[in-house]
Amino acid sequence: MKIRSGFVTNSSSTSFLIITRGKLKKKDLRDLMGVEPGSPLTPLFDQLYEDLLDSVETEVELGEITNLADWKTLIGGRGDSLSARMISKLESKKQKGAKAYFGHLDSETSNVQTFFCMDCFEEENDKIYLNALENAW
């Protein structure tokens, strides 16, 4: 038997949806998060970029979904776990060249990923939409 005297916590995870015009790029993520060139925060957000890419479970070309059945499969494939806000963003950005990435961050990997996993945020600019608001799937 082991006795632990410090904090005992459960692990956490945060689902994310990223919608981009074209491929998700490191520099575009930095721009989205407000990190300017030469920032000492660059390694932190570059690690987030790597963690997001490593954690992608599904990648979808939104522009190639032409019929309603496919669209319903995408939305319905995640059960009722897509929030109304996510569905509305997916619908509004459904155009040629747009990609959607679904995945989740985990608190049991690196300290960097743990930090972002335990935060709750939604960011958007003209190139990227990033939703990491809830633990949905």
């Binding site: 407000g34 990190v35 300017e36 060139p37 960097v112 930090f115 960011e123």
Partner: protein
């Protein structure tokens, strides 16, 4: 210079660092090179708040409250903060030229890796 001490009442590492100049929040964000109205900007504002509003400021606390009780800053560090002799000596040597000496617990999980130490060194212009 960053001194790490283990707080066995809270089961966590705490950090003590002497700072030569305490930046304003605007200067801090400028050094961080982040846009103020962004995720990174909000993160750095929160970090500034945690470092300079919530943390203990040992130099100020000593000169304001504890100087009557402890004859030297080193004694204050040894008896009040339970630092080792070498840590107290090292910090005392920096007392005169430090604008502030702050002590804080865990800030963010990412601060515990090399990226965090390097970040603090750059943001606060710390001595080696």
């Amino acid at each position: 210079m960053i001194i790490t001490v283990y707080d066995d009442r809270r089961f966590r590492d705490e950090y003590i660092l002497p700072i030569r100049h305490v930046p304003t929040e605007v200067q801090f964000l400028h050094r961080a090179r982040v846009r103020q109205d962004s995720y990174a900007g909000r993160l750095m504002s929160e970090l500034y708040h945690r470092l300079f509003d919530i943390s203990l400021e040992l130099k100020r606390d000593y000169s304001t409250y504890y100087e009557v009780e402890y004859a030297t800053f080193a004694q204050y560090l040894r008896k009040r903060h339970l630092l080792s002799k070498s840590e107290a000596t090292e910090l005392s040597a920096r007392y005169a030229r430090a604008a502030a000496i702050i002590r804080f617990g865990r800030l963010y999980t990412f601060m515990e890796e090399g990226v965090g130490t390097e970040l603090l060194s750059k943001l606060l212009d710390l001595e080696d």
